[in-house]
Point group: C2
Chain length 694, copies 2
C-alpha cells in the first residue's frame, strides 16, 4: 500500500485492489502513520452502491399514505391537535419521576375530560377505535398510552369482562370518567408468568357475607401494580378463592384464581384503607409516568358482591357455582378475556418502530460523512452498512403494520362473534405478534440510536426515552419467551388435531398443505434456481417460510416424543425449548409475510403496489438470508442460491434506500410524535442547534 | 390435547407427545379455554435439561479468582473501599442531570484529592494501572470513569502526547490535581468520524505572535465536548492550522489539523472568556454525570506557544516545520497518540458486561417459575432458553477478559518500545476489540434486562443505567462501524504485504499459514467429523475461525478488484462494505479465541483449567453455530456436523449453568459495584423488598 504503482507489477499472486485501498487510506489515517495518500492517483467513482441502472419505482406518497393509513386516523388527529395546542401537557426532555407521574395523570384527565375522548365504550364496542386512541396517546408519551391502558384495558377490562351487570352499572361511568382510577393487581413479587401459582387469598366469611383478602407471605405482595403508588382508588385483585368447610373432610376448599374489586384508598382523603399497606416500586428504567406500587393486604374485608362473578360465583350461604366445570377452565376463561392488552401492545410497538425508523432514516439522509476524493461527502444512508442496518427495518415496519391491522380486525371479529375458532386464532396470534414485534422493535431502537452516532445520543432526539419506555413491552402482559411457547404449544395442538381429522384454525391453515407436501419433496432443481424473478416470486418466498415452519414442527414432534420417554413431559419440553421458540418465531414470520403479500396484491394503484412489492421482497428475502443456515442444512437452498439471495438482499436494500424518504413520510407521523430535531422532515440541523441555544 | 388417552390410539400418523403437551397445558391455560389438565396423568420428570450423567468440573473459586484477577486489584480495592466509606459520593437511583454533574465532579475531586489516586502519571508510565483505575471508577459510576477519562486520557493525553516539554512543565500538575479541568475539543456538529474534514481554523497572526481561533460556520461548532458545559477551564482544540502568505501565490496555506490549548473560562470568575460562546448540549440518554457542551469561537486569540507542537511547529516568523513530511502523516501521528482511549473503553466495557451477567445469573438462580407437576417450581436458569441467553454471554465475558488483558499488555509494550510493528498491531487490535466488545456488551445488557423480567425493569436493579451509560461506548473514540473498517483495511494491507514478501504483524500472523494452506484444501472427510472430542479440540476451533477469516479475506480481495474497475475505489469499497465488516469481526473473533485458548493452556491448576476449557469451548462453538450459514455455504461443515455443533452448544450451556454461580463469583465484583438488590450473592429478595420499604 505504500506505493500503489509497484503493486501492479506482474506478480501473479498480487491483486489489483489499489482503488479500494485508497478508500481505506482515509480510514487508516486514523491509525496508521505509515501510509501515503497521493491525491494524483484518485479515481472518480460512480454512484456508490449503484451501477445496475435499473429504475426505481416512482412513489406517489399521497396514494401510499391513503392505502396504509389507519381507519381511525381522524380520532388520532383530534388527539394530536389537542396536545399540540397544549404545551403544558407535552412531556419535557428531562423530567423527574414524581413530576412525570403528575403530568401523565393530567394528560389522561385532560384527554378524557377536556378533549372528550372516552375510551371505555370503544374497548368493548369497537376495539379498533380503542387501539387507535391508545396508539395516538402513546405517540405523545408512551407512559400516557400505558396509563390509559391500565385504567381502561386492565382495570376497566377486568371489571367489565370478568364482572356482571351489577359491576357494570356501579363502575362503568366512574372508570370512564376516571373518577374511579383503578389498578389491576395480578402480579406478585414471586409470580409473574405463572399466574396459577399466585398466593394471595380471598377467604369467604359466611358470618359477615364478606371476603377477607390476605397476603400470606412477602412473596405474595402484589408488585408492579400500575396506578397503585399514587393515583389508584380501587384494584381488581387476583386471589385464590377459599371457601371454608367446602373441601374434603370439611377443610377449606381452594377454588382457584378469581378477581375481586378491592377499594384501596379512601374516596375523600385518598389515604390507604385499613389493612392495606402500599409502597412505591420506585424509579424504573422507563415509563416513569406510570406509578407502579406494591400492595400488601392484612385481613381486608370486602362485600361478597365485589367478586367479579362472570365465570364463578359464591352464594350467600357460601356455595360455589360456575358454568365452567374445572378450575383450569375458569382460569383460562378469566385470562382469556384479557388478551386485548396484547393486541394493543403489538399495535403500539409498531407505532414506536415507525417513529425510530423515521428519525434514523431522515437523519441518515442529511448526515454526510466521508466521500469520494475531491467530491462532496456522501449521505450516510448511501453506505451499504447503513442500508443494511435500516432498510430491512423499514421493510419490517411496513410488514408489521399490515400484520397488526389484521390482528385488530380478527380481534374485533372475535369480540362480536365469540366464535371458538376465531378465539383460538386470536389468542395465539396476539401472543405471537406481541412477542415477535416487541422483541424486534426493542432491538431496532438500539440499532437506530447507534446508526445516528453521537447526535443519536442526545436525549432530545428520543431514542433513549423510546427504548427505555418500550423495553418492558417485551415483558408485561406476557413475557415474550413464555408467549412464544404458547404459540408453539398451539402449533403442536393443531398438528395433533390434524392427524385426528380435526381442522386448522385460519392462521395455521397453510400447515395443512405444507405438512403433507413440502416435507415429502425437496426439489434439488428448484434448490438451485437463483433468478431474481424466482426469488421475488411470492410463492417461492411463502413456500420457503412455510417449509421452514413445517420442518421445525415435524422435527420437534419427533424430538419431544423421544425425550418424553426418558425425561417426562416437563423435561422433554425443556430439552427442546430453543427448538420450540424457533418454531414459534418461524410461524409468526410466515403469518406476517402472508399478510404483507396479500396487502401488496390488494393494493389498487400500480405505482404504490410496485413500491410495496419491493419492500415486501426485502422483508421476505432478508428473513430468509438471516436464517440461511437452516435452509442450507436441509439443502432447501443450494450454495449458489444462498449467494444469490444475499446479493439480492443488498440490492433491494439499495433500491429501498432510493425511496426511503417517501416511505417514512407515508407513515404520516406528525411533528408532535416525532419531536426529535434530527428527525424533522426539513432543517434538522437548525432545529438541533436551536434546541441547544445557538 | 382435549383427551390425552385417545391420542395413543393406533393411528400411525399420530405421535406420542402427550407428556410434553402436559407441559404446555400450564402455558396454554393462559390463552385456551378448551383444555383439560388432568393431574392424575402427570409423569415425574427427571432433572430438566440433564440426563447425560457426565460430571461437572469441580470449581475452586479461589483458584479461579486468583488466576483471573487483574494485576492491579489492590488499587481498585482502595477505590472501592473509599467510595464504600463515603455514602455521600454514591450515585442515587434517580438523579437529575445538574445534580449528577456536580456529584460526578465531587467524586473525581475526592478520588484525586482525598483518596490520593493520581492517574496522570500512570497514563504514561504504567498504563495498566491507569486502566485499572478507570475501570474501578467506572464501576462506581460510568460517568465517573468517563469524566476521569476526559480529564486524563483526552485533555491530559493531548497536552502530554501532542505537546512538548514546555506544555508538560506548565500543565502537568494542574491537570493531575484537577486545578486545570479541561476538555478535548475535536468533534464538530457536522464532523465526528471524518476528523480530517474539521472546519475550525487557527490562523497565525505574525504581528501579535498569536493564533486566532475561529468557528467559520454552524457546522463547525465544537459539539459534545465533555467538561465544557460546566467545569472546564481549558480545551485542547483541534483546528486547521492556517499560515497567511505561505501558500501558492502568497495565499494562506492550510497545514491540516493541529491541536491548540485554548483557555475557555476565567480562572477566577469561571465566566466564558471573550469570543467564546458555550452552550449546554443538554440531557443525554446516559452519562449525565459528564457535562457535554458546544463551543463556538469568534476570533479567540491564544499565544503561539499554545500550539501542541510535537509533530509540527510554527516559528516566530510564521514558518512551519515538522519532522513528518506530509499533512497525512502528521494527522496520523496526532491521532495515533490517542489510541489509549479505545483500550480503556474496551476494558471498561468488559467490566460492564461482568456486572450485568452477574446480576442476571444470580437472579436467574433464585427466581423460580413453573415446574414439573406436583413438584417445586424450578430456577429459571434451568430453562434451556435462559441458558441459551446467558451462558454464551458468561463465556464471552471470560473470553473478553483475557483479550483485553492482552491488549493492555501490548499497549504498555508499545508505550515503552515505540516499535513500529507493535504500534500497527495495537492500533488495529484496539480498534477491533473496542468495536467488537462494546457492540456485544450493548446487546447483552438488553438481553440481561429481558431475562430478568419485570424485576429487571426496576431502576435499582441497574440494567437501565448501565445500558444508557454504556450505549455511547459504541460511538465515541471511533464509531464501531468505522473502526471495523480500519481493521478490514489493515487486513487488506497485510494481505498485500505478504505477497510482496513483507511480514504479518503479530496479531495477523496466523494468516500466513491460513492463506496458503486452509484455502487450498477443503477436506470432505473432516467436514463430517462430529465427535465431541474433535469439536472440543482447540485446533479444530481455531482452524474454523481462521478458515472463515481467510475465506472472507480472499473473496473480498477478488470482489474489490472486480468492482474497482467499474466503480472506482470509493464505490468498490462501499459495494463490499458489509463483506468487509464481516471480515473484520471474523478476524477479531479469531484473535479473542486464540487468547482464550492460550489462557486455558497456561492455567496451572487442573480444576480451574478444566472449567476454563469448558467455558472456552462454549465461546468457540457458540460463535461457529451463530455463523453456521457461512460454514455450510462453503461446505467447511457438513449437515451432520452442523447438527452436532448445535447439540454440543446446548449441552455446554447446560454444563456451564452447573458452575455459573462460581463463574460469576470469580469476577469478584464488590457489592458497591453490583449494587442491584436482585444481583446480591444472598438474600436478594429481602434486599429488594427492603428497598421498596417493606
Amino acid at each position: 500500500m505504500d506505493d500503489q504503482t509497484t503493486s501492479r507489477a506482474g506478480d501473479a499472486a498480487d491483486v489489483d485492489v489499489s482503488g479500494a485501498l485508497r478508500r481505506i487510506q482515509q480510514l487508516t489515517l486514523h491509525l496508521d502513520a505509515n501510509e501515503s495518500a497521493d491525491p494524483a492517483q484518485r479515481i472518480v467513482p460512480r454512484l456508490c452502491g449503484g451501477g445496475r441502472g435499473r429504475r426505481l419505482p416512482a412513489v406517489n406518497t399521497a396514494e401510499l399514505l391513503e392505502y396504509t393509513k389507519g381507519r381511525h386516523r381522524e380520532i388520532q388527529e383530534r388527539i394530536f391537535d389537542f396536545f399540540a395546542s397544549r404545551p403544558d401537557l407535552q412531556p419535557p426532555v428531562e423530567i423527574s419521576t414524581s413530576d412525570h407521574r403528575e403530568l401523565c395523570m393530567r394528560q389522561l384527565s385532560a384527554l378524557v375530560r377536556e378533549a372528550g375522548i372516552r375510551p371505555l365504550r370503544y374497548a368493548f364496542e369497537d376495539p379498533s377505535v380503542y387501539f387507535a386512541i391508545m396508539e395516538a396517546a402513546g405517540g405523545i408519551d408512551i407512559s400516557l398510552g400505558v396509563k390509559l391502558g391500565v385504567q381502561y384495558s386492565l382495570w376497566g377490562g377486568s371489571v367489565i369482562n370478568l364482572g356482571t351487570k351489577r359491576h357494570k352499572e356501579k363502575y362503568f361511568d366512574g372508570i370512564d370518567s376516571i373518577d374511579y382510577p383503578g389498578c389491576f393487581a395480578m402480579t406478585e413479587l414471586h409470580h409473574g408468568s405463572n399466574v396459577q401459582a399466585l398466593q394471595t387469598t380471598a377467604t369467604f366469611d359466611p358470618l359477615s357475607d364478606e371476603f377477607v383478602i390476605d397476603t400470606p407471605n412477602d412473596g405474595a405482595i402484589k408488585w408492579w401494580i400500575g396506578n397503585a403508588a399514587v393515583h389508584g382508588k380501587f384494584a381488581s385483585v387476583f386471589a385464590r378463592l377459599i371457601l371454608p368447610f367446602q373441601g374434603k373432610g370439611g377443610k377449606p376448599a381452594d377454588m382457584g384464581i378469581h378477581a375481586f374489586i378491592v377499594p384501596i384508598r379512601d374516596m375523600k382523603t385518598h389515604e390507604p384503607l385499613p389493612g392495606i399497606e402500599i409502597h412505591d416500586c420506585g424509579h424504573k428504567i422507563g415509563l416513569n409516568g406510570v406509578d407502579n406500587g406494591a400492595l400488601l393486604f392484612r385481613s381486608v374485608r370486602i362485600p361478597r358482591e365485589n367478586l367479579l362473578n362472570r365465570f364463578g360465583d359464591v352464594s350467600r350461604d357460601g356455595k360455589y357455582s360456575s358454568s365452567l366445570p374445572t378450575i383450569n377452565k375458569r382460569f383460562a376463561a378469566t385470562l382469556g378475556e384479557l388478551v386485548g392488552g396484547r393486541v394493543g401492545i403489538a399495535n403500539s410497538s409498531v407505532g414506536v418502530l415507525k417513529v425510530v425508523v423515521t428519525i434514523a432514516v431522515r437523519y441518515s439522509l442529511i448526515r454526510q460523512q466521508f466521500g469520494p476524493p475531491k467530491q462532496p461527502e456522501v449521505s450516510i444512508l448511501d453506505y451499504q452498512s447503513q442500508q443494511h442496518k435500516l432498510m430491512p427495518m423499514l421493510a419490517s415496519a411496513y410488514a408489521f403494520h399490515f400484520a397488526t391491522l389484521y390482528l385488530i380486525e380478527k380481534y374485533s371479529e372475535m369480540k362480536k362473534s365469540h366464535d371458538d375458532e376465531v378465539v383460538g386464532d386470536v389468542h395465539a396470534l396476539s401472543a405471537g405478534l406481541k412477542a415477535y414485534i416487541t422483541s424486534y422493535t426493542a432491538k431496532s431502537i438500539s440499532v437506530c440510536r447507534e446508526s445516528c452516532g453521537g447526535h443519536g445520543y442526545a436525549a432530545v432526539n428520543r431514542f433513549g426515552v423510546l427504548r427505555n419506555d418500550h423495553d418492558i413491552f417485551q415483558t408485561f402482559e406476557g413475557d415474550n419467551t413464555v408467549l412464544l411457547q404458547q404459540v408453539a404449544g398451539d402449533l403442536l395442538k393443531q398438528y395433533k388435531s390434524k392427524f385426528q381429522g380435526g381442522t386448522f384454525t385460519v392462521t395455521w391453515n397453510y400447515l395443512r398443505e405444507s405438512m403433507s407436501s413440502y416435507l415429502s419433496q425437496l426439489n434439488p432443481v428448484t434448490a438451485r434456481w437463483e433468478g431474481s424473478e424466482h426469488l421475488r416470486d411470492p410463492n417461492f418466498q411463502l413456500d420457503a417460510f412455510r417449509y421452514r415452519t413445517s420442518h421445525l414442527l415435524q422435527s420437534v414432534v419427533l424430538r419431544l416424543r423421544k425425550h418424553t420417554k426418558t425425561l417426562g413431559g416437563f423435561g422433554a419440553w425443556n430439552r427442546c425449548l430453543n427448538h420450540l421458540l424457533t418454531l414459534a418465531e418461524s410461524h409468526i414470520e410466515s403469518v406476517i409475510l402472508a399478510r404483507f403479500i396479500e396487502a401488496v396484491q390488494k393494493c389498487p394503484e400500480k405505482n404504490t403496489r410496485e413500491v410495496l412489492k419491493l419492500v415486501c421482497d426485502l422483508y421476505a428475502l432478508d428473513r430468509i438470508w438471516n436464517d440461511i443456515g437452516t435452509y442450507r442444512n436441509v439443502d432447501y437452498v443450494a450454495p449458489n442460491k444462498a449467494k444469490a439471495i444475499h446479493k439480492l438482499v443488498e440490492y433491494l436494500s439499495f433500491q429501498v434506500r432510493g425511496v426511503a424518504r417517501e416511505l417514512v413520510d407515508a407513515f404520516d407521523l406528525p411533528e408532535i410524535v416525532v419531536r426529535a430535531p434530527i428527525g424533522m422532515a426539513s432543517e434538522a440541523y437548525s432545529h438541533y442547534t436551536e434546541y441547544v441555544g445557538f
